[in-house]
Amino acid sequence: MSTIAPSKEQLLAEFESKIAAEMKIEPRDWMPDEYRQHLVRQISQHAHSEVIGMQPEGNWITRAPSLRSKKILLAKIQDEGGHGLYLYSAAETLGISREQFIQWLHVGKAKYSSVFNYPALNWADIGAIGWLVDGAAITNQVSLQRTSYGPYSRAMVKICKEESFHQRQGYEIMWKMMEGTKDQQQMAQDALNRWWWPALMMFGPHDNESANTSNAMKWKIKRESNDQLREKFINKTIPQAELIGLKVPDANLQLLDDETYKHGDIDWNEFWEVVKGNGPCNQQRLEHHKRAHDNGAWVRETAYVAGLNQK
C-alpha cells in the first residue's frame, strides 16, 4: 500500500471535522496528543472512582439489616466494580495498561472522585450514597453517553443501563427509614446532612474556575459543563427529598420563579483539601486498595504461570 502521508494540519482538520459532525473517534484514528492525554486522565480517573467507590458501601455489606438489602447492596457494589472494569478497558484502548493505571493511582499521580473520601457511618448512608452519589454520577454519565471517544461512549451506554437501579435502591432505603422509627428518621437526616455537599462537589469547580472544562467541551469529551450538570441534579433531587420529609442542609437555598433552585455557597476550601489528600478517608481508601492489590500479587502471578503451562 502506498499513500502519501497526510500532514499534521490535515489530520487535525479531519479530526476536528469529525468532532463537528458528531462522529465518534475510534482507538486507531489519529487524534491530537492533548485529546489523548485528556481522555487518559478522565477515563482512568472515572475508572478509579468506580473501584474506590466500592469501599464506603462495602463497609456495610456484612451489617445490612435484611437479606434483601444485603443482596441489593452486594449486587450494586459488584456493578460498580464492573463499571471500573469497563472503563479501564476503554482507557486501555489508548495504549496504557490497567496495571499502569493502578500504579499511577497508588503513587498519587491519578485521582478518583473525592466523594469517596467521606465515611459511611450509619445504614442510611447506604441510602444517601445510592440516591445522591449515584444520582450525581448518573447525571454526569447520561451526558457522557454522547462523548466523542467511541470506547468511552460505549462503556457509558452500558454503565447507564446498569445504573438504573442504583439510585432507586438508595432512595428506597431513605424512604423506608423516613417511614420508620425516630431513630431511623434521625439516621436518614444525618446521612443527608453529611452527603449533600460532597455530592454537589462531585460535579467539580464552577465553570469559570475549571481548568479542564474548556478543551474537553471543545472536543466534546464532556458534553455539558460542571454547573449545568449540578443544576440538573439539584432540580431533580430537592423535590425528592421534600417528598419523603427530608430537609436539604442549605440555609440559603432559594426556589426561583421558574421552579428551579439556587443553592448556597459550596465550601471550596473543603473540596480542595480533600482533593489534596486531607479528607477523612483518603489514606484509608488508598491503603485498602494497595493492600488488596499487593496481597493479590502472588495470585496473579500463579494464574499467569499456570496460564502459560496451559498453552
Binding site: V51, K71, A75, W123, W298
Partner: protein, 249 residues
C-alpha cells in the same frame, strides 16, 4: 416438624455463613474480575439461604418471617458446618474452603433433586445450576493455585492442611439429618461422600496438592457448637436488628 426445621436450617445456614465470608472479601480480591466473580457466588448462596428461611417461617407457622432466622437466632441455634465459618486468611484459604464446599454442594444438591420432599426437590433443581458453575470455577482455581508457582502451591497446601480438619463434618449426620435420611427426605450422605472424595482426589492430583496425613477431624457445627468465629460473624450481621428491634428496613 422440629426435625425438619432443623434440617432445613442446617442447609440454609451453610449457604448463609459462607456467603457472609465471601461478602467480606468484596473489594479485597486480587483483581477486578475475581471480585465480581466472588460476589456472584455470594449472591447465589444468599438466594438459596433466603428461599429456605422463608419456607422455614412458613412451615413453623409461629408468625416469624424468613429474616428472623438469620437475624434473630443465637449462635448455638445455627447449624452450619465449621468449615464455612473459617476466616478469609488469604486467597488460598478462600479458594480451598470454597472448593471443598462446592464439591460437597454439587453432589448434595444433585441428590436433593431426588428427595421425597417437594420443597427440597425444588431447591435442589434451583441450586444445582448455580453450584455446578461454582464447582467448575473453584476447581479451575485450585489447579492454577496448585500447579502454578511454587509459592502458590505452598500457600494452598498450607490452607488445605489447615482446613482439612473441618472437611468431613459434611458427612457426619446430625440427629435431625439421620431422621430425615431415614424418611427419604434428607440426602444420603454416604453417596455424596464417595463422589466428593473422587472429585477432590481428581482435582488435587491435577493441582499437585495432596490430602494431609493428619486425618483428625473437628465437628460440632451441625449441633450448634461452633468455633469462635461464628460469634463475631453474627455480632456483625445482626447488629442493626439487635440494636433497633422495632425498626423495619
Amino acid at each position: 416438624m422440629e426435625t425438619k426445621l432443623n434440617y432445613y436450617l442446617q442447609i440454609a445456614d451453610n449457604a448463609l455463613i459462607l456467603s457472609h465470608r465471601l461478602s467480606e472479601y468484596s473489594s479485597h480480591g486480587p483483581f477486578l474480575e475475581e471480585d465480581l466473580a466472588n460476589t456472584n457466588v455470594a449472591l447465589d448462596l444468599i438466594g438459596i439461604a433466603e428461599s429456605i428461611y422463608n419456607e422455614c417461617a412458613r412451615i413453623e407457622g409461629k408468625g416469624r418471617i424468613g429474616d428472623d432466622f438469620p437475624y434473630r437466632r443465637g449462635e448455638h441455634e445455627f447449624y452450619n458446618c465449621l468449615l464455612v465459618e473459617q476466616p478469609n486468611r488469604d486467597f488460598a484459604f478462600i479458594m480451598v474452603r470454597q472448593f471443598l464446599t462446592d464439591a460437597f454442594n454439587f453432589y448434595f444438591y444433585s441428590e436433593m433433586t431426588k428427595s421425597k420432599d417437594q420443597f427440597l426437590q425444588a431447591i435442589g433443581f434451583k441450586a444445582i445450576k448455580q453450584v455446578t458453575y461454582h464447582l467448575r470455577r473453584s476447581s479451575e482455581w485450585m489447579i492454577r493455585l496448585g500447579a502454578g508457582t511454587e509459592l502458590a502451591n505452598g500457600k494452598t497446601q498450607f490452607a488445605l492442611d489447615t482446613l482439612w480438619r473441618y472437611s468431613q463434618e459434611f458427612f457426619v449426620a446430625s440427629e435431625a439429618e439421620a431422621a430425615m435420611i431415614k424418611a427419604g427426605i434428607g440426602v444420603d450422605l454416604e453417596v455424596v461422600k464417595e463422589l466428593w472424595f473422587q472429585k477432590v482426589r481428581e482435582i488435587l492430583y491435577m493441582s499437585h496438592l495432596s490430602i494431609p496425613e493428619n486425618q483428625f477431624q473437628l465437628n460440632g457445627g451441625k449441633q450448634g457448637k461452633h468455633s469462635e468465629n461464628l460469634g463475631f460473624i453474627l455480632t456483625e450481621m445482626q447488629y442493626l436488628p439487635s440494636k433497633y428491634p422495632e425498626a423495619k428496613w
